[in-house]
Symmetry: C2
Subunit: 468 residues, 2 copies
């Protein structure tokens, strides 16, 4: 018995894929991914049409999707994130059916519950054996964690593993196991290493970013959460990393032993692990080579599936044990609703990813953002798109003051007692608009181009088309 087949085309044919079905992809190869395009090109060449593409995220490398949409090969898309180049096309309304945006925790929930059934999952695997055991930790295209691919493998009707490092059975230290895999295809390359992992993101040197980061670290200190057992997630942005830097200094100085760092893992979180700030890292996605190496070599650094990371399906997820998460925003409104889906012109340029999931789970969810970008204020009356509901956001840190959600009055008191510059979010909006002027309201089109589905399956909001 041996599951290897000659080509992607043969795997598609064997899988029984027909017009109208759903295929899925994970995004661990990020903007270096070749697999989605290779598979969709074959599907198109086979004359299969009306395909629903369920991808955990889509990047600009997936631009050929636009042609497949125009030709009718692809008619539905479900994803958690769309980068700005692709997003512009979708915002112009090229699809008849709205895109379905989910969160990184909501996507596997809906797959597992059969709300978004997958007919054929295509799993890009940096290493796989002939029976389909596979991992992202090894091989020339190593991407580290395969966290977002587990649900696809576990629940799809057919599972095709595509690898550029086929090894003999059994591979050592697999992530996804053979019992889920139908076919294995060996190809020359599944991705461009330069696009798979970014270089280490640099900590911001921008004075505004440093002020915000310093405020953020003080908020965490004043919250009372920064003590032994502390757990933390932050993004890969320059200001978020600066918060991590300040936290690391405090933790080392005060000899605080945290429990775990969570999330998409950067080299900076690896540094904190190695410095003793955390006992463990729980990793659903590696952002850089340092994270990949650490996941491969350091047993304290562990891979988790998106189900274990953030899904409400299980009895608990790692986000439920999270103390603090640092998050970004393109807009936040006076009810603390956050937009990370669209830019200031209304174009799709992101998605929730784990934003909503961690905000809901963490004891302290913090947005860190400048008061304005390109003379557009961060605080508005109503965000153009609710990515994360305001009830799950505790505090907004800007260089112009710290706004605390009125639902967290006890937190406001603590921060105030610590001498931090607290400001009511309405006042912050006014203060900002004194600098920037009142922005003109965005004019939405009348076609729904995307539905935002919350982590528990509820419709949170809609995105409308942008007209020039």
């Amino acid at each position: 018995m041996n599951k290897t087949v000659k080509s992607i085309r043969e795997a598609i044919e064997l899988s029984g894929l027909k017009s109208g079905m759903t295929v899925s992809f994970h995004h661990h190869l990020r903007n270096g991914d070749y697999v989605l395009n290779m598979v969709m090109d074959e599907i198109s060449a086979l004359g299969i049409r009306d395909i629903n593409v369920n991808a955990s995220s889509l990047f600009d490398v997936h631009m050929p999707l636009i042609e497949h949409i125009k030709s009718g090969t692809v008619t539905e898309i479900a994803t958690d994130y769309i980068s700005s180049g692709l997003g512009k096309h979708f915002s112009k309304g090229i699809m008849e059916k709205p895109i379905e945006f989910r969160t990184h925790g909501g996507r596997p929930t809906d797959i597992a519950l059969g709300r978004t059934p997958i007919d054929v999952a295509f799993i890009a695997a940096p290493t796989a054996d002939t029976m389909g055991n596979c991992s992202g930790k090894y091989g020339k295209s190593a991407c580290g964690s395969l966290g977002y691919a587990f649900a696809d493998a576990m629940y799809a009707k057919k599972v095709v593993v595509i690898t550029d490092n086929l090894v003999s059975y059994p591979m050592q230290d697999w992530s996804i196991s053979e019992n889920f895999v139908d076919y294995v295809v060996s190809v020359d390359s599944i991705g461009d290493p330069k696009g798979i992992v970014s270089g280490t993101t640099k900590i911001t040197r921008d004075p505004v970013g440093l002020v915000m980061a310093s405020h953020a670290a003080k908020v965490i200190e004043a919250s009372g959460l920064l003590k032994d057992g502390f757990s933390f997630q932050t993004g890969a942005g320059g200001a978020s990393l600066a918060v991590a830097k300040f936290l690391k200094d405090i933790m080392l100085r005060e000899k605080i032993e945290g429990s775990f760092g969570l999330g998409g893992i950067t080299g900076y979180m690896v540094d904190m692990l190695q410095a003793g700030c955390f006992r463990n890292l729980l990793d659903v996605q590696c952002f850089d080579l340092s994270a990949v190496e650490s996941l491969r070599n350091d047993p304290r650094h562990m891979e988790i599936s998106s189900l274990q990371y953030a899904s409400v399906l299980g009895r608990s997820a790692a986000v439920d044990s999270l103390d603090v998460v640092i998050l970004g925003a393109t807009e936040i409104d006076t009810d603390f609703n956050v937009n990370v889906h669209t830019d200031s012109n209304g174009y799709i340029m992101g998605g929730s990813g784990g934003h909503s999931d961690t905000a809901a789970g963490a004891k302290l969810s913090m947005i860190i953002a400048p008061m304005f970008r390109a003379r557009l204020p961060i605080v508005t009356d109503r965000v153009n798109c609710i990515s994360t509901p305001g009830k799950d956001i505790d505090v907004l840190v800007t260089q112009g003051g710290i706004a605390v959600n009125p639902r967290r009055e006890e937190l406001r008191k603590k921060l105030s007692e610590a001498g931090l510059p607290i400001i009511d979010i309405h006042d912050l909006k006014e203060k900002t608009e004194k600098i920037t002027g009142t922005p003109t309201k965005l004019v939405k089109g009348d076609k729904v181009v995307a539905n935002i589905i919350g982590r528990e399956g509820d419709l949170l909001d809609r995105i409308y088309n942008v007209t020039d």
Copy 2:
């Protein structure tokens, strides 16, 4: 959030367990297990009755079950193996409903498919954290692999982890993850280490055993399977280990690099790993301390769930890639059907475990057994109980000759060409009976005490009561 509760009683109450429901247990603590008895005592004390106990195996340490059966607390049992002390009671017909025997691969299949739904799974865990991540590798009661507990955790309506080594969240290197676990109970001791892992089983010194083992090794050599990539499973019996010893010598001499050793893992298989006979071990259960240590420390030695080991539910299982398995028998008939459930008097004293699964999966499944035991011939016209169907058994090795299943004519030729002493199984029966005399036929009772359910869910046979 924290899933720890004060006591087993509180966990049972919170789980919603009611009369008529099903509870489950795994058997990795073997004859040292305290957990099944502690839980059943509490269930009984709570006045809950008519419970179905689904345990992957039952040992004599579980003798208190007999009282729970007599009192009506337990009215149904499903398991894969029952040791002889307990077996005697069941064979006398103390239960109204027949026991359901399954295989180690069939049990998780039927749990996953909802054929044998579990209301509350109780998982004995040598280490667990406060959110239920748990492992068998660490702690004073370390048992190694938790392979048989995965299906229970994944599919039970409620999951209770019981540990005597509660650690802070997150534990490192968990086997079963928090998303499956509802409650965690910390107790003083989950088992007696002396009963959990046996000392290393000694290789047989019995001349008959050594002759059989030498024949067995030659059969494997002559089969053509003993080459690079060779994979192998054997039991913990003295003759089986002697086969391993002979194989190891051949492999080292011929510089053959095997791929994997599978199964319940003994120190002897660990020795073969360390000597370079195998690249990896796939471990569903550790039989001794050496296996536990190796699983904990050696990344080449990997834990697998029973689903991945042997279930027909997945797209493949490890047994499907197995070259050779060495198995035992209490009887084998002229159609090669094997009994490992009952002894010569018809009393239950075992069960299939992975017998049927590996026999079905392996390219060469070999029974190794003496021609007779206590003057009772191993070969009969019809076994008293079909544990593994004859179609899945390829060869019987005894000191009096090697019988090959007529379905494997090409194998018979190879062995014959290698000069091995081939004998027709009918002739072997006759030859044996010339020594032992013709045994008297066992008189079965008229009550069915157990049904034998094959690995694909089919009814293979029935076991009847024994009358004195």
